[in-house]
């Protein structure tokens, strides 16, 4: 097989054109000496500077937090690095901010750790750092500590990013899926499957046009509105990332030992996602989201929750999709064409396009 012999050969799908004599990342950039400091100063700090990060200490020194803490981490390995609607940088920020937000915390600080493949163009790195900076500004979060490693060519796929986030838990903290009760109502904040389809269609070069847009974005405002509006009514929230909505419902069913039951006709799916899913034999409920969440509220609170969500553009198409029932034979059911409730499958592995 032929391998990538030039720095522009990653599956970048990046709008930046890379000049032939572009500067790129070398192993020396990761070795802790002069070049490492240059990379940090001229690229990372240039985009992300703030009063904590500038100290470049072994650990950031941060002020005291009043409430209890929330702590989360995620690594981002998306391929391609740029996809319609986002890139690995914005994803790395929104992903961690969203995890804090749905946990009931006010996101405060992030760490940012880059694993770069030797030969990665610095122009692309700068572009991703700008995207990180933009997402951090949008969500009012500060990147206070970081790390950069460079691995030899062929040992990583261009760039992996890890973010870890610290937030302050704000009362009332959603008590979590173990507290779900019969008749609780299930809500989805927007059309599903957009991120998974956008990335799949871009990566596998399926020749689809226009490429569907990822929903990659912040859930901060919608969570805050929900909490300030009906905070005491919220049981749990979850951004429906890998495994999609189906995986969230299965996890919640497992945690609560109840059955979660949804109506297919109420689940919002955008026409493009619908079209691609039919064409490739995929179920939108299994496809990843990166700015769309599932919410469970107490009985009767669903309408209020949907109202609140519909008040901002990001979640204007929020819908109640189902309710919690006493435990049946299967953990998650879906009503499709006919009246009978069918089991909704828990996704197994990455959804593969199929012709059968």
């Amino acid at each position: 097989m032929s391998s990538n012999n030039n720095p522009a050969s990653w599956q970048l799908n990046c709008p930046v054109s890379i000049p032939a004599n572009a500067e790129y990342v070398t192993l020396a950039h990761g070795e802790g000496g002069r070049l490492s400091r240059k990379l940090i100063q001229e690229h990372i700090l240039a985009s992300l500077n703030n009063e904590y990060l500038i100290a470049l200490n072994d650990a950031a020194q941060l002020p005291k937090i009043e409430g209890p803490l929330a702590l989360t981490t995620d690594s981002f390995v998306v391929s391609p690095l740029f996809f319609p609607g986002g890139d690995i940088g914005s994803l790395a920020i929104f992903g961690t901010v969203n995890d804090l937000a749905v946990s009931g915390a006010k996101p405060l600080w992030l760490t940012l750790s880059l694993i770069l493949e030797e030969g990665f163009p610095l122009a692309i790195l700068d572009r991703i750092l700008e995207s990180i900076a933009r997402a951090a500004r949008e969500t009012c979060i500060k990147i206070v500590a970081g790390d950069t490693k460079v691995v030899p060519r062929g040992v990583a796929d261009g760039l992996f990013i890890n973010t870890a986030g610290v937030g302050e838990l704000i009362t009332p903290i959603p008590p979590g899926p173990a507290t779900l009760q019969v008749d609780d109502e299930l809500i989805i904040s927007g059309p599903i499957g957009r991120h998974g389809i956008a990335v799949l269609a871009t990566r596998e070069e399926l020749g689809l046009e226009p490429l569907p847009l990822s929903d990659c974005g912040s859930l901060l405002q919608s969570v805050e509105l929900l909490r300030s509006g009906i905070g005491n009514q919220v049981r749990c929230l979850r951004d429906a990332t890998r495994g999609g909505v189906a995986a969230v419902l299965h996890e919640w069913a497992e945690a609560s030992e109840l059955t979660l039951s949804i109506e297919e006709r109420n689940v919002p799916v955008s026409p493009e996602v619908r079209g691609v899913c039919e064409l490739l034999g995929l179920d939108p409920l299994h496809m990843a989201n990166e700015g769309t969440m599932v919410i469970a509220v107490k009985p009767g609170a669903g309408t209020a929750a949907v109202e609140i969500l519909k008040s901002i553009p990001e979640t204007a198409t929020a819908q109640q999709i189902g309710i919690v029932k006493s435990r049946g034979i299967v953990p998650v059911t879906i009503r499709r064409t006919l009246d009978s409730e069918q089991p909704l499958d828990d996704p197994l592995g990455s959804p593969l396009p199929r012709i059968c």
């Binding site: 097989m1 032929s2 596998e204 399926l206 020749g207 006709r265 619908r274 079209g275 039919e278 490739l280 034999g281 034979i329 299967v330 009503r335 499709r336 064409t337 006919l338 009246d339 009978s340 409730e341 069918q342 089991p343 499958d345 197994l348 592995g349 593969l352 396009p353 199929r354 012709i355 059968c356």
Partner: protein, 364 residues
């Protein structure tokens, strides 16, 4: 989506369902030939709604399930070779061979590329002339035109780095072998709509006459299926055995002549080993001698690799309607989608996977 959504209309479906229940006077056993129909029947809850009225058993119509284990082993072996990329539909990746699936092979270093269309594999070969691309050509008559076209395109481009493992299977010989079996209890067939789209259904005339069983060409959406079932039940209740086309928006009596010509030009009928069934006479398609330069078997002279067939899998019994998947002793215990013993547990078209996925874990 036009021509999809209207055939999923719940109210209309309910009308058809009521009508089927209304006219049914005794227990009828129908076979939906195609795995896609199995999938749809379970996904939309039709099979459940008809429990006690009409029993639906699944036919051999999942090409993933019936593809011979040796072909999968060969595909894995080629994919492991440094100079080869194996291109495949996503469907085949999880099917177990003797030493694991293509996904397992990939996990240990094999080069596998999912494609949506066989012609996409031709394009890959054109763009990367240094790499040998082998397309794993599985599927029924529906898929054969797409793979035949890929061969023609590769020939037009004079590609020397494109070949195929041809493992196409033919539906009708399998139906024949099925009704001839002493265990057969199928009383009517929902014929596979998309196979008929290509092949037409005239050839079923003699089948219907010979075996005196109703055959109804049926589509895949809930209304299509209910309509096809209703047509079958009506024949059975009237003690008739006719050939009907209930998928006429797509299927014509003679099928698609251009597609048949294409298949005819590239392939010839051959005997073929079906997984779970053994060799079915005339059960497959192979490349005609004039296209053999595209035969991966010849190009990469296949060594005799031992195939360790897993006899535990009851796929033959399942695919011939003798048992339903939950009656297999391994169903849901030793055999799950995470760790399938047999092919029907893998593909989302496979009957066992469909039962597992849709939670039908007990026999009716």
């Amino acid at each position: 989506m036009k021509y999809l959504d209207e055939y999923r209309d719940p109210k209309t479906a309910q009308l058809l369902l009521d009508e089927i229940r209304r006219i049914t006077t005794r227990h009828w056993t129908l076979m939906e030939v195609c795995g896609g129909q199995t999938h749809s029947l379970l996904r939309h809850g039709i099979a459940v709604e008809l429990e006690g009225t009409v029993e639906l058993i699944h036919g051999p119509g999942c090409p993933v399930c019936v593809t011979d284990q040796a072909a999968i082993d060969f595909a894995c072996q080629l994919a492991q070779r440094e100079e080869i990329v194996l291109a495949s539909f996503g469907d085949m990746l999880r099917v177990p061979g003797s030493h694991g699936s293509l996904l397992d092979a990939q996990a240990t270093g094999a080069h596998i590329q999912i494609v949506y269309s066989p012609s996409d594999a031709v394009e890959l070969a054109r763009k990367q002339p240094e790499t040998q691309f082998v397309f794993f050509a599985v599927g029924f008559e529906t898929t054969a035109p797409a793979t035949a076209l890929a061969i023609k395109q590769a020939a037009r481009y004079r590609l020397e780095n494109f070949s195929m493992i041809v493992s196409h299977v033919r539906v009708q010989p399998a139906m024949e072998s099925l009704v001839q079996a002493p265990e057969n209890r199928v009383q009517a067939f929902l014929a596979a709509g998309h196979v008929c789209t290509v092949m037409g259904y005239e050839s079923y005339e003699s089948f219907v006459n010979r075996y005196q069983l109703p055959v109804v060409v049926t589509g895949f959406e809930p209304l299509d299926l209910l309509d096809g079932i209703l047509a079958c039940v009506k024949q059975l209740e009237a003690n008739e055995a006719m050939l009907e086309n209930r998928y006429a928006r797509t299927v014509q009596a003679a099928g698609n002549r251009s597609a048949q010509d294409l298949v005819q030009e590239i392939y010839q009928v051959c005997d073929r080993a079906w997984r779970g069934f053994g060799t079915i006479p005339k059960g497959g398609l192979e490349l005609r001698p004039e296209w053999q330069q595209f035969d991966a078997l010849l190009r990469f002279n296949k060594p005799a690799i031992p195939v360790f067939k897993r006899d535990e899998c009851q796929s033959f019994e399942v695919m011939t309607g003798q048992i339903k998947p939950p009656e297999c002793p391994h169903f849901g215990t030793r055999c799950t989608p995470e760790s399938p013993l047999g092919a029907p547990m893998v593909s989302s078209e496979g009957a066992c996977a469909a039962y597992y996925r849709y939670g039908v874990t007990t026999t009716p």
